[in-house]
Symmetry: C2
Subunit: 528 residues, 2 copies
C-alpha cells in the first residue's frame, strides 16, 4: 500500500508529522489504515468510486484542549491540512469527508465531556464529542427539567449541528441562535474564550452571548477559522404540556392569506417551533404520476382544485405545535383557529396532546423530536439505504414565493428533461424565523453515471435558485465552492472579507481548507 | 484660532484632506468651526473642561453610500482617523465624542432613508440616520401594523442602538438579536452586504440572518471594522392587547425562588419583555438616609424585614408585561400567578391594559416604550440637567447573585468612603435573555474634582465587578480601554483576535480608533 499524503506534503514530512501527532495524542489515536479511512469517507458521496471523491490521508483524535492545541501546532509546523469534525455523521452534507482530499481528519469524538447542565437558567456547556443522545441521557439520569432540541437524527452533536447552523423542531429550533459562549483553539494553537468567557472567572459565560466589543461567535459557524473545544447551548425549560393542531384550506390562492396568517402568528410567538407546509392534493397528483411542481403544460389550478373537491383533499395544510401550560396553549390554539377562520373553508383538526414528563412506548407513533427526544427514526423514511445530498435554499415566507418556487423549479426540471418521478422537491419548512427553507435530497447512488446526472441537476438547481434571489443556507462539501460562487454581490465582497480574515487568523491555511468554499491563500492561487 | 488636527497629521495634510472631503460631500457638509465642534462634544463628559476631554478636529456628513466610500478612501489616502456616528445622542456612553481626540466625526445623520417597511414579514431596512421617531412616524403615516422597539430616549437610531447592542422594553428588546442583514463600507472603501445580501437580487436579505459561510454581522457590533450604511431590523407585529401585572413577595430569601420562577417563565416565553427588579422596603430604607446596598455593619435582614412588615412594604416586587391576544395574555398572567403562588405571602396586582391601536392622551401616565412608542420622557427623571455615565455589568439571573451584588458593591462603596446618598445603584433589569443587567449612572458634573472622584469610583466598580466575574455589556467612551482590560482571559486572547482582524481589515487604522478599546497597530505601539 502506498501512503496517502496531503497535497504538497512529502511522504517523509508526513511521516514525521504523524509521529508528532502520535506523541501528542497517543499511538492508538492516529489512524492511517485503509479500513480506518473508509470510516471517514462520505457514505453518501456523490463522487462514489470517482477520482474526485474526497478521502482523508489520516485521522487524529485528541482528547483534550491541550491535545487539540498540540495537534494544531504540529499541523502548522509541518504544513498539514486538518479537517475538523465533532461526532455524528453529517449525512447529506458530506459526512466526515474533507473538502480537500488528503487532509488529516481532526476527530473530536473523544472530547465528550458534559461540563455543566443548568436547569435554573437552562443551558449546557459541552465538548464537541457530546452527542444529542449523550446530553439527553445525562439530563434524564440527573432528572433535570430541561429539554434539548435534537435534529433528526440524534447521533449528531450540539456543537457540530449548531456551528453548521442546523435546525430542530421545538421553539429552540434555530440552533445557532442558542449558542452562548465558545472556547476556540485558533490556528496559532492558542485557546480563546468568546463572549463573557473572555472575563477570567466569568459568572455568565453561558447566560449572555455578546461580551464586550465585536461579537465574534458567528465567525466560527460554517467556518474554518478555529476549532471549537467547548460550546454553551441554551436549553428549553421542560414545558407542562404539548399539543398539535392541523389547519387546512381548500384553494390554491388561499396560500397567500394562509402564509400571511402564519407569519403573523409566528412573529408574535403564538405559534412556535418548526412546521412543514403540506399539500394533500398535490401529493395525490404526484401519487398518480404527476408532479408536485408547476410544470409547463401541466394541470391548471382549476383542474387541481377540482381533484381536491372530488377527493376531499385540502390544497394546503399544516400541522401546528404548541408547548407550554395547558391553559396557555389551549388559548393559543383557539386564537390560531380564529385567525385562520378568516379564510373561507378553513378547517381544523385537534392533534396529539401530552403532559410531561411523558412515558412513551416504543411503538407510539409520534415524532419524538417535537418532544425533545433524540432518535434515529428518520432513517425509516429512506428506502433501500440510498443516500442523498440535500438542497436547501431559503425563500421568502409568502404564498407568492411558494407559487414562484413551484413554477421555477418545475420549469427547470422540465428543461432538463427530468421526468416527474425524479423531480425531487419538498414544500417549505419553518426551521428559521421569518423565512421558509426548502429542504430536499437528490439521490446518491452506486451508479457513477447517475451520480453525474444528479450532480448536474443539483448544480442547475443552485444556479436557477440564485437567478431568483434564493440561496442555500448550507450545503454538501462537494458543492461548497459552487454555492459560495453565487454569493457574489459586488465582486464577492463578503467572500473576500472571509478570505482576508482567513489569511489573518490562519496564515498557513491549515484549518479545514475549502470549508464553505474558503481556501487559504496558497490554495486559492493554485485553484484559480 | 489654531486649526485642530488629528494626531500625527500636519496642518497642511489636514487642509488637503478637508478639501477632498468637501469635494466628496459638498462644502456645506464639512464642519470645522468651534461652534460646530461643540455639538460633537460629549454633553455628559466626565472630562468636562479637562485636557483629556475628547474633541473632534472636524466633521464630515456624507449623504449616500458612494459619499461614505469616498470619505473612507480620502481618510485612507491622508491618514485621517474617522469616528463614525449615526444619529441621536448616545448620552451616558460618550455622546458623539471620539475615543481619539482629533478624529474627524463621520456623521451619518443625512442618511435618513427608510428603504422598506414590510408588515407581512415584519421588518424594516433603514439607513443609519433614521431615528426611532422617524421610523415610528413612517409606520403611523403608512398605517402599517408593526411595532418598533424604542430605547429610552427615542431620538437614537435603530442602526446605532442595535450595533451598540442596546436594549428596549418589548419582547424584541435585545436589539442586536433583531438585526438581519447589513450593508457595510469597509476600510478599503469597498461596499459589502452580509447574510443573504451577498446574493445578487436577494429575496430574503431581511428575512434570514446568516447567509452562507461564516456569519459576520456580530463583528460590526461595538466595533471599528466597518461603517454600516444600511441595516435590516426585525419588527414586532402589532399585538391585539397589552396588560401588566405586579408580583410582590414579603421576605428577603424569597428572592431565590422568585428569580427561579421568573427565569422559568422567561425562558418558556410565557413572560416576555424587559422588567426591573424592585424592592419597596430597600427603597424605603434609602429614603430614610440608608442604602439600598448591603453595607458592612448595616441593618440586618431581620431588621429590614421588620420594617417591611411594619410599613406593609414588600421585600421584592416586579411589574410584568404581556403582549398578545387577550385570551392568551390572560392565560399567561393566570399561569404566572399560579407559579409565583408557590412562594408563601406572594401577592398580585393587576395593572394597566390596552387594546391596539391605542389612543393615548399627552398626560396618560404610561411608559410608552412598552407600547412601542418612542419618546423623551426619561429626561423627566434627571434632576437639574446633570449628566451621568452608565455602569452596566451583566450578572447571573439568580437571587443568590443579587444578594452577592448588594454585598460586594456595598463593601466597595464603604471601603471608598462613599456616603449612602452617593452610593449609586439600581437593582437588575432583564434587557437580555438568560441574564440580569445592572444599569445605573454615576453623575457627571461641572466640577472637575467631583468628576475625578466619580471616575475613580467608576474604575473601582469595574475592577470589583471583574473580580467577581461580572463584566460590562457596554461602556462609556472614556472607559473603553478600562473595560476591555478586564476581558483578559488567556493573556487577552479575544482582544488579540480583535486586533488581528482590525489590522487585516483596516491596515491604516482609520476607522474609529479606540472604539471598544481596539486600537490600530500604530497607535497600540505608541500607547504601550
Amino acid at each position: 500500500m502506498t501512503m496517502r499524503v496531503p497535497p504538497g506534503v512529502t511522504p517523509s514530512t508526513f511521516s514525521a508529522a504523524l509521529e508528532q501527532f502520535e506523541k501528542a495524542v497517543g499511538r492508538n489515536w492516529v489512524f492511517t489504515s485503509d479500513d480506518d479511512m473508509e470510516t471517514y469517507r462520505d457514505s453518501y458521496s456523490p463522487f462514489w468510486h470517482e477520482q474526485a471523491d474526497r478521502i482523508p490521508s489520516a485521522a487524529v483524535a485528541p482528547d483534550s484542549v491541550e491535545q487539540v492545541q498540540a495537534v494544531v501546532r504540529i499541523a502548522n509546523a509541518y504544513g498539514i491540512p486538518l479537517w475538523t469534525i465533532s461526532t455524528g455523521k453529517n449525512l447529506a452534507y458530506g459526512g466526515s469527508s474533507p473538502a480537500l482530499s488528503g487532509s488529516v481528519v481532526c476527530d473530536l469524538k473523544r472530547m465528550d465531556r458534559i461540563v455543566e447542565v443548568n436547569d435554573k437558567n437552562h443551558y449546557a456547556l459541552v465538548e464537541p464529542g457530546v452527542s444529542y443522545f449523550d446530553l439527553y441521557r445525562y439530563i434524564q439520569e440527573h432528572r433535570l427539567r430541561v429539554w434539548i432540541d435534537p435534529p433528526d437524527p440524534g447521533w449528531g452533536s450540539p456543537v457540530g449541528n449548531s456551528l453548521e447552523r442546523g435546525g430542530g423542531r421545538t421553539p429552540m429550533g434555530d440552533h445557532f441562535a442558542s449558542v452562548c459562549g465558545l472556547e476556540v483553539v485558533l490556528a496559532s494553537g492558542e485557546v480563546m474564550r468568546t463572549g463573557m468567557g473572555a472575563l477570567p472567572g466569568a459568572q455568565t459565560w453561558q447566560q449572555y452571548k455578546y461580551g464586550f466589543g465585536p461579537y465574534v461567535d458567528g465567525l466560527f459557524s460554517q467556518s474554518n477559522f478555529g476549532i471549537i473545544t467547548k460550546m454553551g447551548v441554551w436549553l428549553m425549560p421542560e414545558p407542562e404540556a404539548y399539543r398539535e393542531g392541523r389547519v387546512s384550506v381548500p384553494k390554491h390562492d388561499d396560500l397567500v392569506p394562509f402564509v400571511d396568517t402564519l407569519s403573523y402568528l409566528m412573529n408574535s410567538h403564538i405559534v412556535r417551533g418548526t412546521m412543514l407546509l403540506e399539500s394533500p392534493v398535490l401529493g395525490y397528483r404526484q401519487s398518480q404520476g404527476g408532479s408536485v411542481l408547476d410544470l409547463p403544460g401541466g394541470p391548471s389550478i382549476a383542474e387541481t382544485e377540482a381533484i381536491g373537491r372530488e377527493k376531499n383533499l385540502a390544497y394546503w395544510s399544516m400541522l401546528l405545535h404548541f408547548w407550554g401550560p395547558p391553559r396557555v396553549i389551549d388559548a393559543q390554539w383557539e386564537y390560531t383557529k380564529e385567525k385562520f377562520r378568516a379564510i373561507p373553508g378553513a378547517s381544523f383538526q385537534d392533534g396529539r396532546a401530552y403532559g410531561f414528563p411523558v412515558e412513551l412506548g416504543e411503538t407510539d407513533n409520534v415524532q419524538r423530536v417535537y418532544l425533545g427526544i433524540p432518535n434515529l427514526s428518520v432513517f425509516a423514511l429512506i428506502a433501500g439505504g440510498q443516500g442523498h445530498m440535500d438542497f436547501s435554499p431559503i425563500i421568502p415566507m409568502t404564498g407568492e414565493a411558494v407559487f414562484e418556487v413551484l413554477k421555477v423549479f418545475g420549469s427547470a426540471y422540465a428543461e432538463m428533461g427530468v421526468p416527474p418521478k425524479n423531480q425531487f422537491f419538498a414544500l417549505p419548512w419553518t426551521f428559521f424565523p421569518r423565512s421558509f427553507v426548502l429542504l430536499f435530497g437528490l439521490p446518491v447512488t452506486h451508479n457513477i453515471e447517475q451520480n453525474r446526472e444528479n450532480r448536474k441537476v443539483f448544480q442547475r438547481l443552485v444556479e436557477v435558485a440564485a437567478q431568483h434571489g434564493w440561496g442555500e443556507y448550507r450545503t454538501h462539501v462537494a458543492f461548497m465552492d459552487l454555492v459560495r460562487s453565487v454569493y457574489s454581490w459586488n465582486h464577492h465582497a463578503l467572500g473576500r472579507l472571509h478570505e482576508t480574515i482567513k489569511d489573518a487568523v490562519d496564515p498557513n491555511g491549515i484549518l479545514s481548507p475549502g470549508k464553505s468554499g474558503i481556501w487559504p491563500r496558497q490554495l486559492r492561487r493554485s485553484r484559480a
